[in-house]
């Protein structure tokens, strides 16, 4: 199950997978094994060696460190794209997105170009570090959505690739 949770004004994409006695919670690549015990008006959650008791009331979560305002955020179509796994297989058109906010320092492709899986499409730079965005599979570039020198946010579409061969995802 995936949803987007807003805690005290900060949104996080969350994936929950049930396991015996609890859940595996994934938040942006971090992973927590939570054991839960449900009572009438509270839930005990154990993560690691620490047990926390939570009272949920309306959209507030009461924890020993105070009250947190909790909201489940409606996942829009566009947002859903980000969290849902992307289409794969020959013929599929895949949007390739930026891994981090930064500046586009190099665009290595033009529309119509053939690319191989792993080939660098775009190079982003942030905080003196360069990050190469690779092609998710063999295919043809359908669209290049960024240009050199431009500043992009994270998860922004930088290119679209029509897959011809095996995909990475």
């Amino acid at each position: 199950m995936r949803f987007r949770l807003d805690v005290d004004g900060e949104q996080r994409d969350i994936e929950v997978q049930p396991i015996a006695g609890g859940f595996v919670i994934r938040i942006e690549c971090a992973e927590y094994r939570a054991r839960t015990r449900l009572a009438m008006d509270y839930v005990d959650v154990r993560i690691g060696a620490k047990t926390q008791r939570l009272h949920l009331q309306g959209n507030e979560a009461f924890l020993h460190d105070g009250i947190h305002r909790v909201r489940l955020v409606e996942v829009s179509e566009e947002g859903a794209d980000v969290i849902e796994s992307r289409p794969s297989g020959p013929g599929a058109i895949v949007d390739v997105r930026s891994s981090m906010p930064g500046r586009v320092v190099r665009v290595a492709i033009t529309p119509g170009a053939h690319v191989r899986r792993g080939e660098t499409l775009v190079v982003l730079e942030a905080m003196k570090m360069q990050n190469e965005i690779p092609a998710p599979g063999d295919g043809v570039v359908r669209q290049v959505a960024v240009s050199e020198g431009e500043t992009v946010t994270a998860d922004r579409v930088v290119a679209s690739i029509e897959l011809r061969g095996p995909s990475a995802s």
Binding site: E10, V16, G58, L72
Partner: protein, 509 residues
């Protein structure tokens, strides 16, 4: 003494320099780029001037713009901090020509330090032990191959004009040499405008140890060594002083060598000599001709304000301490807090900081360039803050650091605090068994799963929501209720929070 000091930097170091300048009764003038309009360092200064657009080359690295700001603000001296223009001899010369005092070494000493081969040769001439290698640029791949086989693999290519660990490339086998040579040349050319390489024997499991030195025209003081072996891609992450691997007689030799070496190149002001420590022997690595990021740990164990001494030396005043008066107490550790995600291979994480709380308490110092609401721009270094602790011994310093890491709350951007937490929990670190590739060798970041107390709370809330069936119907199930007014919420939070220590929930509610 100076009356108006221009601080040609941003972030935590600009703020740190401004603090000392203010204590000395000097008016502080800051500079900022368009990306730093709302930056915290502007608030630490008496005046600030805009020096250009977001890219460093158009602002903090732009010599003309910085000099123009100094002229407009009628500054009589410039402190460059670290990075940016701090080790640029051309800038130091231009300052002198413009009648400004540059708070740093003389341009010639700086130029010599920046030329890795010249520095190596000069040090060797002074009897400072150097790592086996060549003292001239490599001409061709075959030249490199001949020397590498004489020295024996593994070897390390270094850029003559390099710095900050950029352009270094380790070669383990002859077959890898040609490709490494070409790529290191390319990197050196792109970053320093000079493709020249030299090579040295690569020392496995070496420690990085360095000596802070202060030199004025008459006196020189060498400080107790700092160990900076915890690195990733040649970037320091954790520093401590003293080194757990250095005993008294070795310390005396390191300090004596560092002071003598810097004197030999005509150095003045604050500088650092870096060494590699290997099998109980040390060899010269390089000179850092500036104030270093990790200088606060030296200040913590000696009580000496290094920036104050820098400014005094630049103004022609005497050092306020001498080698014989210098005392040290206890142990200090620094963790660099970067806007990087250690769970995603240290991916840069610029953005808006929505929540921020620093650890406090005895022995804790935070040199920070950010606060709640700060924007961490993607254009500059990822360093947001330095968490520095001091205690009577190493074991206690580690304990203070662990609780300080847990108490450091930064939300809105990812930080490398989870990495620091994991590192300080490792028995190998606690034993003081450190080496420069330990972060990669031990796969410390690769084994990270958790981000820390805040994310754990979010995970617990998510688990509780799912367990109680509140999200049984999928992602769009609304969880709404009339919102509480902000003041009443704040009041309640105040009553319930009680300083963050764990009291059993039952007693609270």
């Amino acid at each position: 003494m100076f009356r108006r000091l221009l601080i040609a930097n941003r972030g935590e170091i600009a703020i740190r320099v401004a603090r000392t300048a203010r204590e000395m009764g000097i008016r502080t003038i800051g500079v900022y780029s368009e990306a730093d309009r709302s930056a915290l360092h502007r608030r630490a200064m008496d005046e600030t001037l805009l020096i250009g657009s977001a890219l460093p080359a158009d602002s903090y690295l732009h010599i003309e713009h910085v000099l123009e700001a100094a002229r407009v603000a009628r500054a009589d001296a410039i402190h460059p901090g670290y990075g940016f223009l701090s080790e640029n001899p051309a800038f130091a010369r231009r300052c002198a020509e413009a009648g400004l005092v540059f708070v740093g070494p003389p341009p010639d000493a700086m130029a010599l330090s920046g030329d890795k081969i010249a520095a190596r040769k000069t040090m060797a001439g002074e009897g400072v032990p150097v790592t086996r290698g060549v003292d001239r640029p490599l001409r061709t791949v075959n030249d490199a191959r001949t020397i590498a086989s004489e020295i024996g693999y593994p070897v390390l290519f270094k850029a003559t004009a390099g710095g900050g660990g950029i352009g270094m490339s380790r070669v383990d086998r002859p077959a890898e040499l040609a490709a490494a040579f070409e790529s290191a040349r390319g990197v050196a050319l792109a970053n320093f405008g000079n493709a020249d390489l030299f090579l040295e024997k690569y020392l496995r499991r070496a420690r990085h140890v360095e000596v802070q030195v202060l030199l004025d025209s008459a006196d020189g003081v060498g400080f107790v060594e700092r160990e900076c072996s915890v690195q990733r891609r040649h970037q320091k992450l954790v520093e401590e002083t003293p080194s757990p691997a250095v005993e008294r007689s070795l310390r005396a030799r390191l300090i004596e060598t560092a002071v003598r070496g810097l004197r030999a190149i005509g150095y003045r002001n604050a500088g650092t000599v870096e060494f590699l420590l290997h099998d109980g022997r040390f060899t010269f690595n390089e000179v850092n001709a500036r104030l270093q990021v990790e200088h606060p740990i030296t200040e913590m164990v000696t009580g000496v304000d290094l920036v104050r001494q820098q400014i005094r030396i630049a103004a022609g005043d005497d050092l306020e301490i001498s080698q014989s008066e210098l005392r040290r107490h206890g142990h200090a550790i620094e963790c660099r807090v970067n806007a990087e995600d250690p769970i995603r291979n240290f991916l840069p994480s610029p953005g808006r900081i929505v929540g921020y709380r620093e650890p406090t308490g005895p022995g804790v110092r935070v040199d920070s360039g950010v606060a709640a609401g700060s924007l961490v721009p993607p254009y500059y270094d990822p360093l947001m803050a330095k968490l520095v602790v001091h205690a009577t011994n190493r074991k206690k310093a580690i304990e203070v650091m662990r609780r300080s890491i847990d108490a450091f709350e930064i939300r809105g951007v990812h930080t490398n605090l989870p990495f620091h937490r994991a590192l300080l929990g490792k028995s190998v670190f606690v034993r003081g068994n450190l080496w420069t590739t330990m972060v990669a060798d031990l796969r410390i970041a690769a084994r990270l799963r958790s981000r820390g107390p805040w994310e754990e709370r979010v995970a617990a809330i998510a688990a509780a929501l799912v367990a109680s069936g509140r999200v049984a119907r999928g992602p769009t199930f609304p969880l709404e209720r009339p919102s509480v007014a902000r003041w009443s919420l704040a009041g309640r939070r105040e009553r319930l929070s009680g300083g963050g220590h764990a009291v059993s929930p039952r007693r609270r509610w």
